[in-house]
Symmetry: C2
Subunit: 310 residues, 2 copies
């Protein structure tokens, strides 16, 4: 019902980062794709299988040093139900290796429809009274443009199943300000207002390390807002995208953390997944070891500035 | 690249309504579920198969009088990849019967990630240069909290594949005002600002009936805002949820239409799907005929107030 399990993973690994699993076909070494196509054809199923094998290699190489993965639902949906099946298999595999799984789906709706998303991604679906786990993630990203009606159903599922959610507050993209930075008539911006709602919603899911089960997505590309929100939202854990490929560095994400080096987890997707393409002369079969080296570099760069304290 | 095909369906059937396909197990007659469980077990696959058979009955009973269906992605995702496969099969079946399909996914993300959602739901995914249709919907609902970066990739796919999108503007739920009704420092509300962005984005996808390929979701439960937005957004086609079960009636949705009875499509989900539960003494095997009777009643109620003109 909070991010206690995630925080314990961060303390154990002394690493406040999460590896994004956004496996585009372009990111996957040719030998993996060829093996998958040979078995399943150049089809959605073949492509999805390549995604899965790529993910398994990454998870194996990262699971002892990185506490969490963040599969991005879009890159699985893109390959149809075959891809969505691989999302489930990836989540299962990451959990079997002890990783915390943040499903990045940015889902949103109201009432029983939002409850359906929450059951799908975090809870259980009942079939004739039998509770069945569906995707089994540990946390889900959520877009709260629809207000409390779109968040309450997720809170209820999180309370029952010890899960969490991350609400989009200030996203990392260049146009995030078009709406999110606009000032309301009380002088607060939209992202500040959304952040304040996270604190309110989070009061229902308190955690033992001071952070609730309602986190916020705040981009590394806006370091001033990161620091401002860290102060304004003392119970809200941050998921921080935008490090690496999108331009954010360790200096930029440092303001996201509290004095114990907690309070935030920094995501890198392309930086880790595509590390193998940047090492000259590397055998593509060693892609996962290149990912591990980049994950260690990222961890060390961030914790040199902001060490994780126990 | 616009809603021309949808508008032509509305003109042909003289019916500006869409049947929501949100098939919860509770809504499905027992005989359908028992047949599906007998074949596939009381599993996610069995439940998903029951959803599909229920949908097929509804589509068969509605396809000559209702121009469009709106499957709600959450109710399929809830049954895992097996449910997502049935979303695809449902879309295929509805299209084979000449219906326009609005996939209600409220998807949102940025850049290539949003492009992945657009390809999944509206376009094609390339596997080794081979373009493969994935879900094949005609339109997708989108949440634009992330700004233009989250909409542009969908516009591009819509332009290439003659599809459309509906952006959440003023949703039908009680708490929609928490954020959407807040006034910005220029005096406009957030939903008005979002509506104005729809007009701007829509300029890239003009249609021959005056409506662009960028529509807006505006709830039947807020008739004053519906009328206000109809005047303010002359090129934006409205998808209007909240009729029936959520409390909106024909009087409430009338302001959504232009002087030709166009410019909006009104959704009913539970009202149509569960009509069979309200007719006393009805054989559940006649559920689809009950749905048809309710769809006709709804059409007649709305077009009595606002006739569709050719």
């Amino acid at each position: 019902m909070s991010f206690d399990r995630l925080i314990e993973g961060i303390k154990r690994t002394k690493n406040p980062t999460v590896a994004g699993l956004d496996p585009k076909l372009d990111f996957i070494p040719a030998y993996i794709k060829e093996e998958a196509y040979a078995q399943y054809g150049k089809t959605l199923e073949g492509a999805a299988e390549a995604l899965y094998r790529f993910n398994v290699g990454l998870i194996d190489a990262l699971c002892d040093i990185v506490p969490a993965v963040k599969p991005q639902a879009a890159y699985y949906e893109m390959y149809g139900w075959e891809g969505v099946r691989v999302l489930k298999r990836t989540i299962e595999y990451a959990k079997s290796k002890g990783m915390f799984v943040i499903t990045d789906g940015k889902r949103n709706d109201i009432g029983t429809t939002m409850e359906a998303y929450a059951k799908a991604h975090l809870g259980v679906t009942e079939v004739e009274g039998e509770p069945l786990e569906v995707f089994g993630g540990d946390a889900l990203t959520v877009n709260a443009y629809l207000g409390t009606d779109g968040v309450k159903p997720v809170l209820n599922v999180c309370r029952d199943s010890d899960k969490g959610l991350f609400v989009l507050v200030k996203t990392s993209n260049p146009s995030s300000g078009e709406l999110q930075d606009r000032k309301l008539d009380d002088g607060m911006t939209i992202y500040q207002t959304m952040g304040r709602m996270c604190e309110q919603w989070g009061a229902e899911l308190p955690g033992k390390y001071g952070y609730s089960g309602v986190g916020a997505v705040v981009g590394a590309t806006y370091p001033a807002q990161l620091g401002e929100l860290r102060k304004a939202l003392p119970h809200t854990f941050f998921l921080v995208p935008g490090y690496g490929a999108q331009g954010g560095g360790a200096q930029d994400v440092a303001p996201a953390f509290d004095e114990n080096g907690l309070g935030a987890i920094i995501n890198s997707s392309r930086g880790i997944m595509c590390a193998w393409k940047k090492e000259e002369g590397l055998d593509p079969k060693d892609y996962a070891q290149a990912a591990r080296r980049e994950a260690i570099r990222m961890r060390d760069e961030i914790t040199a500035l902001v060490p994780v304290r126990n």
